[in-house]
C-alpha cells in the first residue's frame, strides 16, 4: 500500500517569464498575471490532485538572483532553502537563455531537485532560433521541457516529468565548476562549514554566498573563524583578479551560463527588426511617446464612458420595468418596501450603475497588462516620478490602482526601499480606482458632461503630484533609481484576458454585490424608521454649510467607506432615482464627485495599508486623506460658487 503523500513543488525563475501562467494552468488557480516584471509579490499556493498524488504548488515571486537584494529574493530563497520543496520547476525564458541560466545555476547551487520549463518557446522559434533541449539537459543534469504556457503547450509533459520525478524521489546533485582560484576556495570553505556549523543551506552554497559577501548569510553563520577565512579569501580573489570577489563570482557564473547558452542555441534563419522594436520608436519617443500615452488614456476612458452609459441606461430601464410586478405582490407595505426599495434597488444599482462601467474597464486593463505597454509607461514617467521621490517602476502599482487600490498597495513591494514603498502606497490610494471611475463617469460625466469628469481626473492627478512632492520633501532619504527589464510586447491571448477580467469581476459580483444589497436594505430600514434625519442633521454643518452638499450626502459617504461605489448607489436609494440631475445641482454633483474621489481609502485598502505598513501609518493616511478631502472640497466649493449655481 502506498501512503498518500503530499508533495511540494515550487515555481521559480526570473521576473516575467510566465511562472504565474504555468501556475494557473497547472492548478486552475487565479493568480493575476500580466506582462511586466513584478506582479507576483507574494507566494501563492494551489493544489493538483491526480491518481492519489497530491501536489502543493507554490508560485514564487520572480527574481534574478538568490542574493538578498530585494524582499522578493529573500522570500524565494528562504522558501526554497527552509521549506525544502520536493522539487522546483525553474521557469526559463527561452528567448533569454543566458540571463535565465544565471539564475538556474544558483538553483543548482542550492541543491534542490530541478525541472526546467523552457517557456515562451514559440517566440524563440519566431525569431528563427531553436534550443537543443537534450543537450541542455545533459549539460545541466536536469530534465528540460519546452513549453508555451499561454497556449497550454507542453504542460502535460511537464506535469508527467514532475510527477515521475516526485514518485521516484531521487535526489541527484550536480555541480558546476568555477575557475580554479574560486573553486579551490569554495571547496576549502565549504569543508570547514560542513564540519563546524549547521544551516538550512547546503555548505557549498553558503561558501559561495560568503565569498559574495551576502549580508544575510553572514548573519546566519556567525562563526568567527569561518567569517575571517571568507574575508581572507575575498581579499585574495580581489588581488588576483583586480575586482571585488562578488564581481569575480558573478562574472564567472555568467561565463558558464553564456558558454552553455551558446552551445545549445541553434540558428535557423536570420533576425529581423521585430514589430516591437519598431513600435517602441513611437511608444518611447521623447515627444510622440507622451502624445501616444495621453491619446491611449483618453481613448480608454472615453470608450469606457460611452460603453458604460449606453448599457447603464439600457439595463436600468429594463430592471426598473419590473417595478409594477413587485408592487402588485401581496405583501405588507413594510416588506414591499424592503423587497423593492431595499433589495431590488440594490440589485439595479449594482447591475445598472456599476457593472456597465467596470466590466469594460477591467477588460481594457487586462489587455494593457498583457500587452507589455505598461512597462513603457513606467519608462516614460521615470523623470516625473523622480520629482515625486520615486522612480518609474512605481508607475506599475499606480496603474494597477486604477483597477483597485488593494493590489496596488501590495504591488508597491516591487519598490526596493521602504521609504519608496510607503510613498508609492500613499499615492496609490489616491489613484481613482474602478469604483471611483464608476462615480465619476456615471455621475459627473453623465450629468455634467465628459469635460467635467476630465477636470476631476486632472485635479486628482495634480493632487497626487503635490502629495508626492510633499512626501518626498519630508521623508528622509533620496529616491532610488530605476533598473527594469523591458518586457517584450506580446500579442494578448484572448482566453487569458477574459479570464483576468473575470477574476476581477468575480470579486465584484461575489464580494461587492452582497455588500451593496445589504447596505441598501440597512438604509431602507433606517428610512422606514425615520432614523436618517438625525444622522443627516448631525453631519449637516460640514456637509451643507461647508461643502454645499445636501445633508443626505453625508450618509452616502459613510457607506462609501465600505466600498466607494456605495456613495452613488446610496444616493440613488435615498432619492429613489438614478436621474441625479433632478436632485443635485451641477455644483453639488461636481463636489460630490471630487470628495468621493479622495476622501478616504475604502476599508479593504485601509486593511491592506495596515498589513503592509502597520496601524500607525495606515491610520495616518486614512485620517490625512479624510481631512484633506473635506478641506479641499470646501475650498473648491467656495471657488465654484463664483461660476456654478
Amino acid at each position: 500500500m502506498e501512503d498518500k503523500k503530499e508533495f511540494v513543488v515550487a515555481l521559480a525563475g526570473n521576473a516575467n517569464v510566465g511562472k504565474s501562467v504555468i501556475f494557473n494552468q497547472l492548478t486552475g488557480g487565479n493568480q493575476i498575471i500580466g506582462n511586466w516584471p513584478g506582479k507576483t509579490v507574494e507566494k501563492a499556493e494551489g493544489f493538483i490532485e491526480q491518481e492519489g498524488v497530491r501536489i502543493r504548488v507554490v508560485d514564487l515571486p520572480g527574481i534574478y538572483s538568490l542574493s538578498t537584494y530585494s524582499e522578493e529574493e529573500i522570500v524565494s530563497r528562504e522558501f526554497i532553502a527552509k521549506e525544502k520543496p520536493d522539487l522546483v520547476i525553474n521557469v526559463v525564458d527561452a528567448v533569454n537563455l543566458e540571463r535565465n541560466l544565471f539564475f538556474t545555476l544558483q538553483l543548482i547551487e542550492l541543491e534542490v531537485p530541478l525541472v526546467i520549463a523552457l517557456n515562451q518557446y514559440d517566440i524563440l522559434e519566431r525569431k528563427g532560433l531553436s534550443i537543443n533541449g537534450k543537450k541542455l539537459s545533459e549539460l545541466l543534469g536536469v530534465p528540460v521541457i519546452k513549453t508555451v504556457a499561454v497556449h497550454n503547450k507542453g504542460l502535460t509533459e511537464l506535469f508527467e516529468i514532475v510527477r515521475n520525478a516526485l514518485l521516484k524521489g531521487e535526489k541527484k546533485v550536480s555541480h558546476l565548476r568555477y575557475g580554479k582560484e574560486v573553486e579551490s576556495r569554495i571547496k576549502e570553505l565549504s569543508e570547514i562549514i560542513s564540519k563546524k556549523v549547521k544551516t538550512y543551506y547546503p555548505p557549498r552554497f553558503v561558501a559561495i554566498k560568503l565569498l559574495e559577501n551576502d549580508p544575510l548569510i553572514k548573519k546566519e553563520i556567525k562563526d568567527e573563524e569561518i567569517l575571517k577565512k571568507a574575508d581572507k579569501f575575498r581579499k585574495e580573489l580581489k588581488e588576483i583578479h583586480g575586482e571585488e570577489a562578488e564581481t569575480v563570482i558573478i562574472s564567472e557564473r555568467y561565463a558558464i551560463a553564456s558558454r552553455i547558452a551558446e552551445s545549445v542555441i541553434e540558428r535557423k534563419s536570420t533576425l529581423k527588426e521585430s514589430m516591437g522594436d519598431w513600435f517602441d520608436k513611437i511608444a518611447l519617443d521623447k515627444v510622440w511617446g507622451y502624445v501616444f500615452f495621453i491619446l491611449v488614456t483618453i481613448g480608454i476612458f472615453y470608450a469606457v464612458f460611452k460603453f458604460g452609459s449606453f448599457f447603464s441606461d439600457l439595463l436600468s430601464n429594463w430592471l426598473e420595468s419590473f417595478k409594477p410586478i413587485f408592487m402588485r405582490m401581496p405583501l405588507t407595505p413594510f416588506w414591499n418596501k424592503i423587497l423593492w426599495d431595499g433589495i431590488m434597488e440594490g440589485v439595479i444599482a449594482g447591475i445598472g450603475i456599476v457593472l456597465p462601467y467596470i466590466a469594460p474597464f477591467y477588460l481594457i486593463l487586462a489587455f494593457l497588462e498583457d500587452s507589455g505597454y505598461l512597462a513603457r509607461i513606467a519608462f516614460l514617467t521615470d523623470n516625473v516620478m523622480h520629482k515625486l521621490g520615486l522612480h518609474g517602476k512605481a508607475f506599475m502599482p499606480l496603474i494597477e490602482g486604477f483597477g483597485c487600490n488593494v493590489p496596488a498597495v501590495l504591488g508597491t513591494r516591487i519598490m526596493e526601499r521602504d521609504r519608496d514603498r510607503f510613498i508609492a502606497a500613499i499615492l496609490a490610494t489616491l489613484v481613482p480606482c474602478s469604483a471611483r471611475t464608476v462615480i465619476i463617469l456615471g455621475l459627473v460625466a453623465t450629468f455634467l458632461g465628459p469635460v467635467y469628469a476630465l477636470i476631476i481626473y486632472v485635479l486628482d492627478f495634480i493632487l497626487i503630484l503635490i502629495t508626492g512632492r510633499i512626501l518626498n520633501k519630508f521623508m528622509k532619504g533620496t529616491p532610488s533609481g530605476l533598473i527594469m527589464e523591458m518586457p517584450r510586447y506580446r500579442k494578448p491571448v484572448m482566453k487569458i484576458i477574459l479570464k483576468q477580467t473575470w477574476i476581477r469581476l468575480k470579486d465584484f459580483v461575489y464580494f461587492a454585490f452582497p455588500i451593496i444589497i445589504v447596505a441598501n436594505v440597512v438604509m431602507e430600514i433606517f428610512s422606514i424608521f425615520n432614523w436618517i434625519k438625525p444622522v443627516a442633521n448631525f453631519l449637516k454643518p460640514v456637509m451643507t454649510d461647508f461643502l454645499g452638499l445636501p445633508p443626505l450626502a453625508g450618509i452616502t459617504f459613510l457607506f462609501g467607506i465600505l466600498r466607494k461605489e456605495l456613495t452613488l448607489v446610496m444616493l440613488s436609494t435615498l432619492y429613489h432615482t438614478t436621474n441625479f440631475a433632478k436632485v443635485l445641482t451641477p455644483r453639488q454633483i461636481f463636489i460630490f464627485g471630487f470628495v468621493t474621489m479622495i476622501y478616504i481609502p475604502c476599508v479593504a485598502t485601509i486593511a491592506a495599508l495596515k498589513r503592509e505598513f502597520g496601524w500607525k501609518r495606515a491610520t495616518a493616511v486614512t485620517v490625512g486623506e479624510f481631512v484633506g478631502a473635506i478641506v479641499l472640497g470646501g475650498i473648491l466649493n467656495q471657488i465654484l460658487k463664483l461660476f456654478m449655481p
Partner: protein, 85 residues
C-alpha cells in the same frame, strides 16, 4: 588603472560600449551585475534622451536604467570595427 569618466549617459543611441566598472552602492551595483552588466560585457544603447531613462540592450534583453544610476556605470566606447565581438 586608467582613469576613465565616460559613463552610460555619454553613449548615444545606436552606439555600443564595454562595461568597465560600476561606481555605486553595494545593492544597486550588485543588481546591475546580476542583470548582466559585468566588466567586459558589451552593451548597446538603444535610447538615451534627457527626458527619460537610458535603455540598453544586454544579452538580448532590453533594460531601462534611470539616469542617476546610468551615471555610475563607467564604460568604454566601442568603435564600429569591433562590432559584434
Amino acid at each position: 588603472m586608467i582613469r576613465n569618466n565616460v559613463t552610460l549617459l555619454d553613449i548615444k543611441a545606436g552606439e555600443k560600449a564595454e562595461i568597465v566598472s560600476l561606481a555605486g552602492g553595494y545593492g544597486f551595483m550588485r543588481r546591475l551585475q546580476e542583470m548582466g552588466l559585468i566588466p567586459g560585457q558589451i552593451v548597446e544603447v538603444v535610447r538615451n534622451s534627457a527626458m527619460g531613462p537610458v535603455e540598453i540592450s544586454v544579452m538580448g534583453t532590453h533594460l531601462a536604467i534611470g539616469r542617476g544610476i546610468a551615471a555610475k556605470v563607467i564604460v568604454r566606447p566601442v568603435r564600429r570595427q569591433i562590432y559584434g565581438r
